[in-house]
Symmetry: C2
Subunit: 190 residues, 2 copies
C-alpha cells in the first residue's frame, strides 16, 4: 500500500500527535478526501501501517531463517532483520516514546503476535539445529523456547540502553558471539 509507505515516515518524523491527516495525504500525494476513502481515522492509518511493517519484517525474517548457512548466522540475520525493520526506525524518531505507547494502545495485538511468532521461529531453528547435532543444548541445559526468549529480551534491553546509537549493532553482535560460544558442540579452545 503506497499510502502506508508514505505515512510511516511521517509518523516517525513528527510523532503521532503532531502528524495530521493532511500531512499524511500530502506525503502520499493524494487528497485528504481520498485518504478517508481508504482509512476511517488517523488511528486506522497508524494501525494499518504498524501491521504492514510487522508483516513485511516477519516475511524478511522468515527468508533469513531459510538461508543455507549455520544456525548462528541464520539467527543473527533474523535478529538483525527484526531490528532494522521494527526497532531502529522507531529509535530514530524524536518521539520514540510516544510512538511506542501509541503503538501499544492501537496495535498491541499485532505487536505481541509478531513478537510471539518471532520467538517461535527462533525456537524452531534452535530445536532443528539441536536435532541435527549442529548445536549442543546440553551445555546450557534449557529448552529452545527459553533461549529464544533470552535473545529477544537481550535485544529489547540493548535497544532500551543504546537507543538509536551506533553501538546497538555492536552489542547485538556480541550477544550472537556469546550464543555461538555457548552452544557450539565442540569447545572453542583446547
Amino acid at each position: 500500500m503506497l499510502i502506508l509507505d508514505a505515512a510511516l515516515p511521517v509518523f516517525v518524523r513528527y510523532g503521532f500527535r503532531k502528524t495530521t491527516m493532511a500531512d499524511i495525504a500530502r506525503a502520499a500525494g493524494i487528497s485528504r478526501a481520498s485518504l478517508y476513502l481508504s482509512f476511517s481515522s488517523k488511528e486506522d492509518v497508524f494501525r494499518a501501517g504498524s501491521a504492514r511493517a510487522h508483516r513485511q519484517t516477519m516475511t524478511e525474517v522468515e527468508v533469513a531463517l531459510k538461508a543455507q548457512v549455520s544456525v548462528f548466522d541464520r539467527i543473527e540475520a533474523a535478529v538483525t532483520t527484526f531490528q532494522r525493520g521494527l526497532i531502529v526506525p522507531l529509535g530514530a524518531s524524536a518521539d520514540a516514546r510516544e510512538l511506542f505507547e501509541i503503538n501499544m494502545a492501537l496495535a498491541a495485538d499485532i505487536t505481541l503476535e509478531t513478537r510471539q511468532r518471532f520467538l517461535d521461529l527462533i525456537s524452531l531453528a534452535l530445536r532443528e539445529a539441536a536435532d541435527k547435532g549442529e548445536i549442543n543444548l546440553g551445555a546450557v541445559d534449557t529448552e529452545p523456547a527459553n533461549l529464544a526468549g533470552i535473545i529477544l529480551a537481550a535485544m529489547s534491553g540493548i535497544k532500551e540502553m543504546r537507543g538509536a546509537e551506533p553501538g546497538l549493532g555492536d552489542d547485538t553482535r556480541l550477544l550472537m558471539r556469546l550464543l555461538r560460544a555457548a552452544l557450539s558442540p565442540r569447545p572453542i579452545s583446547g
Copy 2:
C-alpha cells in the same frame, strides 16, 4: 540564553508551525508560564533565537578571519563557519523551507544585516591582502566587494542544490581552490 539554546533545536525538528510554546518550555525545562515571563510570543522566541544564532556565528566568523594564516585559509574558515552556524542546521531540518520563510518574515532584518556584515568582512580581508601583495586582483579586474558577493552567492547556490547532502563541503572547498588559483600573484603552473 538557555531557553533559546533549547528552543532552536525544537524549531529545527518540528518546524515553526508544529512547535508549540509547551514544546519549547518542556525542552528548556521550565513552565509555560515562565516562558512567557521571558518572551511575549512564539514569534518573539523565534526572532530572539535567530538573532542569537546570527550573532554567535558572526563572532566565530570574526575569530576565523583573525587567524595568522593565508587570506585564502582565513576566508575558507570564515565561509565554513558561516555555513555550519547558519546554513547546515536549517538544511538538516525536515521543514527547511518553512523555517526559511518564517525567518524571513520574522527576522529578515537580522538575516540581511548579518549577510551584509559577512560581505564586508570578506571584502575587507581581500582588500587588505591585495594591499599587502598577498593576492593579485588585477587578474580578475574587480573590486573586493564584488568578489565577496560572488563567494556568498556561490555559497547559497551550492546550498540550494545540495541541501544537507555531504557534498556541500566538497563544493565549497572547490570554490575556495578556484578563488586561490585566480588570485594568487604568481602563476600556478609554468
